[in-house]
Amino acid sequence: MSRYIFVIDADRCIGCKGCQVACKAENGIGPGENRNRVFDVGPTGVFPDLEMYFLPVMCQQCEEPACVAACPTKACRRNEADAVVMIDAETCIACRACERACPYGALTLNRERRVMDKCTICEQLRREGEKPACVKNCPGNALYCGDIDDPDSAVSQLLAQTRPEHIHKLRDTGSHPGNYYILRNAAWQDLLPRELAERRGGRRQV
């Protein structure tokens, strides 16, 4: 079995939100809906001694996904083959229980299709041997995805080359998020996406 996840080099993210737009164009996601979002973390400090980094957040591919546990129809489940959490459009009744349960705000209601929608690590592209839309279009080269169980994969290699104190995860509220974040040049702020959205100290957080 393999386990597909993202490793995100936050030092390399320039906060352009190109990944958000690329994801929408690739996956037919409408205005007001998002499979992924980029947050400004900061600025922290007092002018002019500031720090800020950018945090792309998509589904964290949790080990014990809260969304799966909450889904009454089992539409939300984890793939056998690659451990990616998927939503089956046929059985999803758009009750939004998964959305309420996910600590990372990673689910979005696709209003056009009336189903819940989430990052599939661009399943349709991976099947063709291509990289996900956000990865391909990231000018910062901040996004990496692959099989973390394969020690030779790009994501495993990247983590192996990174000092442990620079490797982070979003706060674990029990679902054990799978994605890793690398941050060397700023102090990691332990904030969930919804807390970041509330702070809104800098640019608009969509």
Binding site: D11, P31, G32
Partner: protein, 697 residues
């Protein structure tokens, strides 16, 4: 003018060393934020350099993404850049951080300047452009003024009196020019910390090779040209030119274009002299001649007053002029006085609302274009074509043709190959344009499409370093730089000639400007300024600057749903300490007012901008195009900007940044503007079948 090569603009993709694993050690991003202005090209390239360990200094009032990633951020007071540059120059000279040998041999700073005329006396004048004039230097051995033939020189510094006249070297002139600008003085002017200034200078000066890139920020105040000169001076003193890792380079080109990526030639040299002489503002601001441009504020005055002559017709090929020109409300008044306005663009904008005729052009995906980038030539190819649009290149020649057919002699000659000489005669199709250029490299459009991206030269051959050291066949000497003296002209004597005659940009002699242009950078305090204790600063106590966000390019893209939903209205950044006095909270709608008008935006309280400063993104609202505001009166920063004097002496720049405003909490959003993501749904693309071709090329 100082260097004779292209400027190292990151957004224009001119800083070519960024795209490779080069020897760059440090970069200064001065009022430029590639993560916003060009994330997909320069933004990514700078990011790669940072990841490799290249050090960066960012000089920008707001805490931009690039500032967040910089080793040192200098949040400068808007409009004071030249003061800081002069402090950099002073510090670099005082602490001998400059590349002394390079400066001595390859800049014109050792040449003697007559302090009265500010000109450099010549021992011999050359009529051969390959051979520069012979200048004087101070010969240390004989302790006298001696002519020194190109290329080597002697004393760099000194003041000498010969026959009652006082001469100084260019270096001494520069040193004296910046003498007052200690780090402490710059800190006071620029609202910065002196130690941090010194740290930034040292970081850059001690980590060569590298480069200093400016953006449009410093181009948007009346001190514009001096900022460009200051920036260039810093790089040249440090020897950051034509060595591996420097941003200023003269790499090879394919030879396809006359001007890089300007397929349609300007051919201004074919205009009659009297027409060049009456170009509005062109005599006072002769630097405009480099782009053959007119001076916007002089044009505005001419329309409003009929002086020096009335204007009747405005043909515009650009997006939303009302969102782009300073003090837009005055332009609206001017537009009402014109007989005919034509707007040529891809889709309607506020400007179209005032036009009598619209000429719809093809969209990006509908056009073909030749693009040269690094050592490759590419064909950007049309992927679709819908509705009644025409490539704008062709529209221009159709206009010329129509005038020719109606008896206009100049337009008729534009189609005559003999008259056009080395220039491309006007064309009837886009293809003709391509053939004209591509045949120079034995290509045609189809072949280019087939081979795109075509590497016209291996990278190692293309990346030519130390071009100035190449031997000139004729003289047997190093060919030097593309300047009259073949040296880097840090003491820019040719500014004086430019102001007096229009040379080297004008083909005919122009009457002198009212005042000589200065050969060295000088600092100009903004006309409206928080440090002037006057009526304006009392009523409008905050200084405003604007800037980019990554989601938009200039005034385009406000009609793209996926972008607008992320940033539906311009943010107004205010420091919490400043906002306190106005009772403003994040998310509040606020009025931003200047002497010239008022607009609204959404307040964001952030430490990312200094106290007393307001940062705002410019904007217009396509959704209110068909209302009485025509979309340009709600949130358009250019309602606030300043189109009157003082102007930059050389190119006439007015004030788009660094002017005074006040804030007030507003009751709500302007009427009819769209803010919620769902609002933008009407703009989502709708699939269409093939549409009828109405114009066959």
């Amino acid at each position: 003018m100082m260097y004779g090569g292209v400027d190292p603009s990151i957004a224009d993709s001119n800083a070519l060393e960024l795209y490779f694993d080069s020897e760059i050690k440090a970069l200064v991003l001065w009022g430029t934020d590639p993560s916003c202005s060009c994330p997909a090209s320069g933004g990514g390239a700078v990011n790669d350099q940072r990841a490799k360990g290249v050090k960066t200094v960012v000089i920008d009032p707001p805490f931009t993404q690039d500032a967040a990633k910089a080793d040192i951020w200098l949040p400068i007071r808007p409009g004071t850049d030249v003061a800081l540059m002069m402090a950099w120059i002073r510090y670099i000279i005082e602490h001998r951080l400059y590349d002394a040998e390079f400066v001595l041999k390859w800049t014109n700073l050792p040449y003697l300047v007559d302090t009265e005329t500010k000109l450099m006396p010549r021992a011999a004048v050359s009529s051969d452009p390959a051979v520069p004039d012979t200048f004087y230097v101070w010969d240390k051995r004989t302790d006298s003024m001696q002519p020194l033939a190109y290329p080597w020189d002697d004393a760099l510094e000194g003041t000498f009196t010969v026959d009652g006249r006082v001469y100084k070297t260019g270096f001494t002139m520069l040193k004296e020019q910046v003498a007052d600008f200690t780090p402490e003085r710059a800190a006071e002017i620029c609202w910065l910390d002196a130690d941090r200034i010194v740290k930034a200078i040292r970081l850059f000066a001690e980590n060569t090779p590298g480069g200093l890139a400016i953006g449009v920020a410093t181009d948007q105040t009346p001190n514009s040209v001096q900022a460009a000169m200051g920036a260039c001076t810093i790089d040249l003193l440090l020897g950051n030119v034509e060595r591996p890792g420097a941003l200023m380079q003269r790499f090879r080109t394919s030879g396809t274009f006359d001007m890089p990526n300007y397929p349609v030639p300007i051919c201004a040299d074919l205009l009659p002299d009297e027409q060049l002489r009456k170009r509005l503002g062109g005599n006072e601001h002769k630097g405009l001649g480099i782009w053959f441009a007119g001076h916007p504020s002089s044009i505005l005055e001419a329309v409003l007053t009929g002086k020096p002559y009335p204007l009747r017709v405005w043909i515009d090929r650009s997006g939303n002029k009302l969102g782009a020109v300073a003090d837009s409300k005055r332009w609206q008044k001017a537009m009402e006085r014109l007989d005919l306005i034509v707007h040529m663009y891809m889709y309607p904008t506020s400007f179209s609302a005032y036009a009598d005729i619209l000429l719809p052009t093809e969209e990006w995906l509908e056009t073909n274009m030749m693009v040269e980038t690094c050592n490759t030539l590419c064909a950007r190819q049309q992927v679709t074509h819908l509705w009644e649009t025409v490539d704008e290149t062709v529209i221009w020649s159709m206009l010329a043709k129509a005038c020719a057919d109606r008896g206009d002699e100049e337009c008729r000659r534009a189609f005559d190959p003999e008259f056009m000489g080395k220039n491309l005669p006007y064309w009837s199709s886009e293809k003709e344009v391509f053939i004209h250029f591509l045949k120079r490299i034995d290509f045609d459009w189809e072949k280019l499409c087939w081979l795109t991206p075509y590497e016209y030269m291996p990278r190692r051959d293309w990346q030519t370093y130390y071009v100035y050291q190449w031997k000139d066949e004729k003289t047997g000497l190093a060919q030097g730089f593309n300047t009259p003296s073949k040296k880097l002209e840090i003491y820019l004597e040719s500014m004086i000639t430019l102001g007096r005659t229009g040379k080297p940009f004008s083909k005919c002699e122009l009457p002198p400007a009212s005042k000589d242009y200065e050969p060295l950078p000088y600092y100009l305090e903004p006309h409206e300024s928080p440090v002037r204790d006057d009526e304006v600063s009392r009523e409008f106590p905050l200084v405003l600057t604007s800037g980019r966000v990554p989601y938009y390019h200039h005034s385009t893209l406000r009609n793209i749903p996926f972008l607008r939903e992320m940033y539906p209205a311009p943010e107004v950044w205010v420091n919490p300490r400043t906002a306190e006095g106005y009772g403003i909270e994040t998310g509040d709608w606020v009025w931003v007012r200047s002497k010239r008008g008022e607009i609204r935006g959404i307040a964001v309280l952030t430490e990312g901008i200094g106290p007393g400063i307001v940062w705002m993104e410019r904007f217009w609202n396509p959704e209110t195009l068909n209302t009485k505001t025509h979309g340009w009166k709600e949130m358009n920063v250019n309602i606030l900007t300043k189109a009157d004097a003082p102007f930059n002496d050389v190119v006439g720049t007015y004030t788009l940044r660094a002017f005074q405003v006040q804030l007030e909490k507003a009751d709500g959003a302007p009427e009819g503007v769209w803010l919620n993501p769902e609002d933008f749904k009407p703009w989502l693309p709708k699939p269409s079948g093939r549409t009828k071709e109405v114009f066959v090329k």
